[in-house]
Amino acid sequence: MISFFNVQYCYELLISQLPISLVLYSHIPTAVAALAFSLFVVWRARNLESACLFLMCVFFAAWCALDLSTWFAFLGSADVMFAWSLLDLVAVIMFFFAYYFLYVAITGKDLPARQKAMGMLAVLPTAVWTFFGKHLVAFDANSCEAIEHPLITLYPYVAEGTFIVAAIVLLVVRYRRAESDDQRREIVLYGAGVLAFLLFFFSATLMVTVLTASETAAFDPYNYEIYGLFGMPVLLFYLGYLIARYRAFNMKVLGAQILVGALMVVIAAEFLFVTSTVNIILVGVTLVITTVMGYRLVRSVRREVDQRERLEQLSKELQAANTNLTDVSHFKTQLLSLASHQIKAPLAAIKGYLALVLEGAYGPVPDKLAAPVEAMQRSANGLVDLVMSLLDLRKIEEGKMDYQFARTDLAALVRDVGADLQVLATEKNLALSVQGADAPVWVKADAPKLKQVIQNLVDNAIKYTPAGSVVATLSTEGRNAVCTVRDTGLGMSPALLPRLFDEFTRDQRVQRTIRGTGLGLYIAKRIIEAHGGTVRAESEGEGKGSTFVVHVPLEQGA
């Protein structure tokens, strides 16, 4: 029923159209969330992208506040006219900053001057009409609404539509130019968020204008307007995801922070609904508890994320150091190999000539010369062993050790080694004996290399045993042949045992008194492993002798 325009009339008209709480809920939390979010972002990021987002959100919040004023016409017609007159201008500027933000976000560059000028030019007509107040015809006290100019009021939609089209074109062009899938995903996420925001707003306000003009709406067309604001939460969701997943705005914000923030906004928004004192207290307590627990949760998650990031960083550094070490090791092997090859030939010549000299090929060797020449021959032999070990090492490390597996009598090999080194043992007054090698023990092996291993073990036993005995024993155990070399020598400390088969490992006690390369056991282990066997060392301690046990698989069917 028509009444005269007054406070009570406009208030009753408003509440007859839709609940006030819905108007408040659609405007206030959305505007506060947008402002809080953008303020947080601009405070943390302090760059052009965040500034554009902030300005866009400021104009959005301003639009919400102005629009809310137009709903509350009972506050006064002058307030409504003032607020209503600014709505179009604020909306068009908001669209301009939305486009500006999108451009900076997906290109990483400032908007070109020409586009800035065109954007401002698009805003200009609305600004001029707003300044002169030409877009509002009058205030209708019967409907408590301003009457808009039927033509001028259409222009802001043209400007807003232009910004939307420009945003779509920008997104398509940038998507096509993107160089990686991550870039494309970011463009899609930014585009989806900004377009959802703009299209929600644009379509809702346009619908209001069209329905108002056609007067066909079942109820007050301005009721549709509130749905246009729900694009903002969609945009905030996308931006939150971009920050958490892609560190948009160069910000490190955890998903937990965004979740807690959103939860607090939702709970705080309940204040707009609740009316009873009990409910207000309950919502307040819930908000406080959520804030405290959320703060603790965020701190805890942040600590874990920091630790994980530190570990990832350390892992990367370790990987880099490892790669570097591998390169250095490879370079070292190459260098050793080159040096060994260059030394091997002259050494062979020296060794050969020394043998000829000692055999008397160049006439009898004077007594005074015999001892030095023999010393030279021993040194040359030592050097040849070293060179051969280095060459074996290179082959093993490069996986180029060539094995010729064949049916081999391990017992014969052990007997040969015993015979070969008997002279050496006798020279040191050691009792070298071979046991259990009378009957053949067949294995599939590279005979020279397997012999090299046993020879190395027996030779070591002789070298490191000042007095006593060395016993090489051969036996079988299940499907394995077992060769044990036991001595009564220096023995080993428990600390040395685990490292004994590593490269260049030697017993510190004898490093200067007994010649060795520290490579023999390493090479022996790798050769035995290539035969599918194992080698291990045992010792009850220093001075208590050592035992080396080699397992090699018996030949199948043997």
Binding site: G76, F131, F139
Partner: protein, 116 residues
């Protein structure tokens, strides 16, 4: 100051000017038209009434610059309105067949409708 900052500064100054002038024009000067239904004396004026409403209140239509109709503004009903002499815009529409809109009728006093 960068060129972007200059653009923004000029932009915001312009927006503030618009905002300030609108505030002055509407809030301070009340320089806008008010369309309002004012009370109408059916014995002396041709009044409108809503169709199909019992005990409908007769009214006349007034379009007036807001500052010339303080009683028609927020706090008061627009009763016994007449255009002020100094009003730049003040238009009172009385009921006749040419200005009737949907849902409206011209008020006919009961005494006039009774047979003599």
């Amino acid at each position: 100051m960068s060129s972007t900052s200059k653009y923004f500064l000029a932009f915001f100054v312009a927006v503030l000017v618009v905002l300030g002038y609108r505030f002055y024009d509407y809030k301070v000067s009340r320089n806008y038209l008010l369309e309002v239904n004012a009370s109408c004396d059916p014995m002396a004026e041709q009044c409108f009434v809503e169709e199909g409403v019992d005990e409908a209140i007769p009214y006349k239509k007034v379009v007036v610059t807001a500052r010339y109709a303080p009683h028609c503004l927020e706090e008061h009903s627009c009763e016994q309105f007449s255009c002020p002499a100094d009003a730049t815009t003040c238009l009172v529409t009385y009921c006749n067949a040419e200005v009737l809109e949907a849902g409206e009728a011209c008020y006919v006093p009961e005494s006039a409708s009774e047979p003599e």
